[in-house]
Symmetry: C2
Subunit: 403 residues, 2 copies
């Protein structure tokens, strides 16, 4: 139970939150010894002793007194550099950089093993909700069937404003940015990539399998239109941006990020505004629902604090599920039932639906509901990025192994 002396990389919204939370947590026995920033001159909302600040990463990495690196840099390349360099020097790291972690996780796991040190990143997925830790430790068994949820607070905030308050989409996006929920590049949130990166990390801790981003179908909410919203409302549903990893048979699983129609009976129906909600489904325990603030300075900082505290007791992820026998294989050969708004019949004919069950056309709004394999959606994903096209998934049960 040693004192934690932190070298902090990044002093933006989250970094400043960490600074405040660590000072408030008197039983944490943790202190921030140095803060590495890109621009020393930049004005900051939180008052901080200027002698703590540095723009030289080595003044953290070379300091033998620093025994934990906390990395919350909003630049995946810099993040990768700082994190791998710290691990190579045997310094444990707590990171919130989901994009970087999702892209490099196999290498980061290998590095941790090689240098016998730890990388914790619960804050990278769902802010204050302890999803990673619970998947790693508590759902550490074969019973898990599905992890599904709303993982991006910013896009969910926008959909809530649009659905519950009738706000125009652009106005809702601007407001999300003003409130600090949205990433600096909003396409990261609204095109589904933020959810995708979290889903990749979750899948490693849920099923012990790493799938790289380009292999996963990811579709966001940027082309949603009033017609789509009206369609959902008339059927008493909401549209939510949902990420899911789900076992489709005893030895196969699939995963994707896509808007989904959500009926009021679903737990995630009531996950509104910037909140995140995750449903963990398994044999025997059925559904567990975890809900909380997924974005924002202090919620993310409190999650970082939990990882910092865990380091006091030497906690590290063991990635036990990666050693399981019979890990399931990734497949995209699964049938989906989707709604698609489309511009004209030429476009419709270019989409390889297996079966169309509903078809609506009018002067300014056309849609079909039909079945299509996920693998085909991946093949045609470029075609679907047209702003006159929007797709959304109807949820289905792939598998329920309960007796």
């Amino acid at each position: 139970m040693n004192e934690i002396r932190i070298g902090l990389f990044g002093f933006g919204v989250v970094g400043q939150g960490i600074y405040r939370v660590i000072r408030r947590a008197t039983n944490a026995h943790a202190s921030i010894e140095r803060i590495c920033v890109r621009n020393l001159a930049k004005p900051r909302a939180v008052e901080v002793d200027p002698s703590l600040l540095t723009d030289n990463p080595d003044s953290i990495l070379d300091d033998p007194d620093i025994n934990l690196v906390v990395e919350v840099v909003d630049d995946p390349e810099a993040s990768y550099r700082f994190v791998t360099e710290a691990i190579r020097r045997g310094i444990p790291v707590v990171s919130g950089s989901k994009a970087m972690i999702a892209r490099h996780l196999p290498e980061l796991i290998e590095l941790q093993r090689k240098h016998s040190t730890a990388l914790l990143y619960d804050a990278s997925s769902c802010g204050s909700i302890p999803v990673i830790r619970n998947l790693e430790e508590y759902y550490d068994n074969d019973l898990l069937l599905e992890v599904k949820g709303i993982l991006n607070g910013s896009s969910n905030y926008i959909l809530s404003r649009v659905f519950d308050h009738g706000e125009p989409y652009d106005q809702a996006l601007t407001r999300a940015q003003q409130l600090g929920f949205a990433e600096s590049d909003p396409s990261f949130d609204i095109e589904g990539f933020d959810s995708l990166f979290k889903l990749i990390i979750i899948t490693v801790h849920a099923l012990g399998v790493y799938i790289s981003p380009e292999r996963i179908f990811t579709y966001g909410i940027s082309s949603i239109s009033d017609s789509d919203i009206r369609y959902a409302r008339e059927k008493s549903m909401k549209i939510k941006l949902v990420a899911q990893v789900v076992k489709v048979s005893a030895d196969r699983f699939t995963m994707f990020v896509m808007p989904e129609f959500v009926t009021p009976s679903r737990y995630i129906y009531s996950v509104d505004d910037e909140y995140n909600g995750v449903v963990i489904r398994g044999e025997c325990y059925d559904r567990q629902f975890m809900f909380g603030k997924g974005a924002g300075s202090l919620p993310t900082a409190s999650s970082i604090l939990s990882d910092v505290m865990a380091r006091r007791h030497g906690y590290r992820y063991e990635y036990k599920k990666m050693d399981y026998v019979d890990r399931p294989d990734y497949t995209t050969d699964v049938p989906l039932k989707i709604y698609m708004r489309y511009p004209d019949s030429d476009f419709l004919q270019s989409i390889p639906f297996t079966r169309i069950t509903e078809h609506y056309t009018s002067a300014d709004y056309n849609y079909v509901i039909g079945e299509i394999p996920l693998s085909r959606l991946i093949e045609i994903r470029d075609r679907l990025s047209d702003k006159n096209v929007f797709i959304a998934n109807f949820p289905q049960f792939f598998l329920d192994l309960d007796d």
Copy 2:
């Protein structure tokens, strides 16, 4: 990472669930070596090799091959005997016996330390929801303000049937017993004691403080009447049996179990049937909501499995918060705002309300809404157990330290 060889005490609903779950969890590397039951001749739903069964506790406790005791005996005295005896012999224990644990926790913590072994009991609180583990590991900091929720599946099932389906109370209770949600002694559930025991265990892991059962105000739902239900319905509220531990100032906390009026905007409003739902509130992260099946054979067994798996990695509770500086003190000197149905004006005059804000009388139904300190409710609790009396709490914020 050794093989887990389990000696199981108890083979009722939960014990049989454990037997099935352990056999299904192929990556658990765990097996049940012997099962101690009270009556060998009793017929059981699950088919089991008769050579596994014994009615002699020592054939588990004396077996050097057995390296984990799992105890799910429906008899607190026997449970206490088996658990303490196992710990004294240095055998780690996973237990689901909340009544026993809540009564003996300080001694059990001391015993674990003395004999350097572990007692895990996540299944004892909220079945499949990992409340204890998360409070111990993830919310391991000073930010926690409140843990509040529906901890008893059986009483919640009854209230759901009564509220949402208009069923008579007695019929709902019978149905809960038939479905196996209710404990063998139903007063345990409906008088709030099951919730109380869980709350005591939660408080140790939330704030690092043990409070014994008799010091905590506990009021159940057995005297709820149609009038009370109608009152709540007219105000678009439900009545739920809620257990809570909450900080009321920087250095004091209170706790109690009481029916509470719940408005639709509250997370626990939608916790229906046999489900449990827990809200964890803290500085910085605001509210986290965890929801899942709190009762039943397989959900409880899956929680036991999580503890069994944790033992493969040598996990034990460290009770770190008990060593915190400035642990908060327990107080009952807090004002509550309650609803009370009462039989006559003599009775009303005997209740030491500080202030009455609403008063309704009629030929067959009288109620008041008023303020009363929790400490006074404890003093008069015998008087409140009259079947012509029912009280329910209006929730309030005691403290919000967020800035």
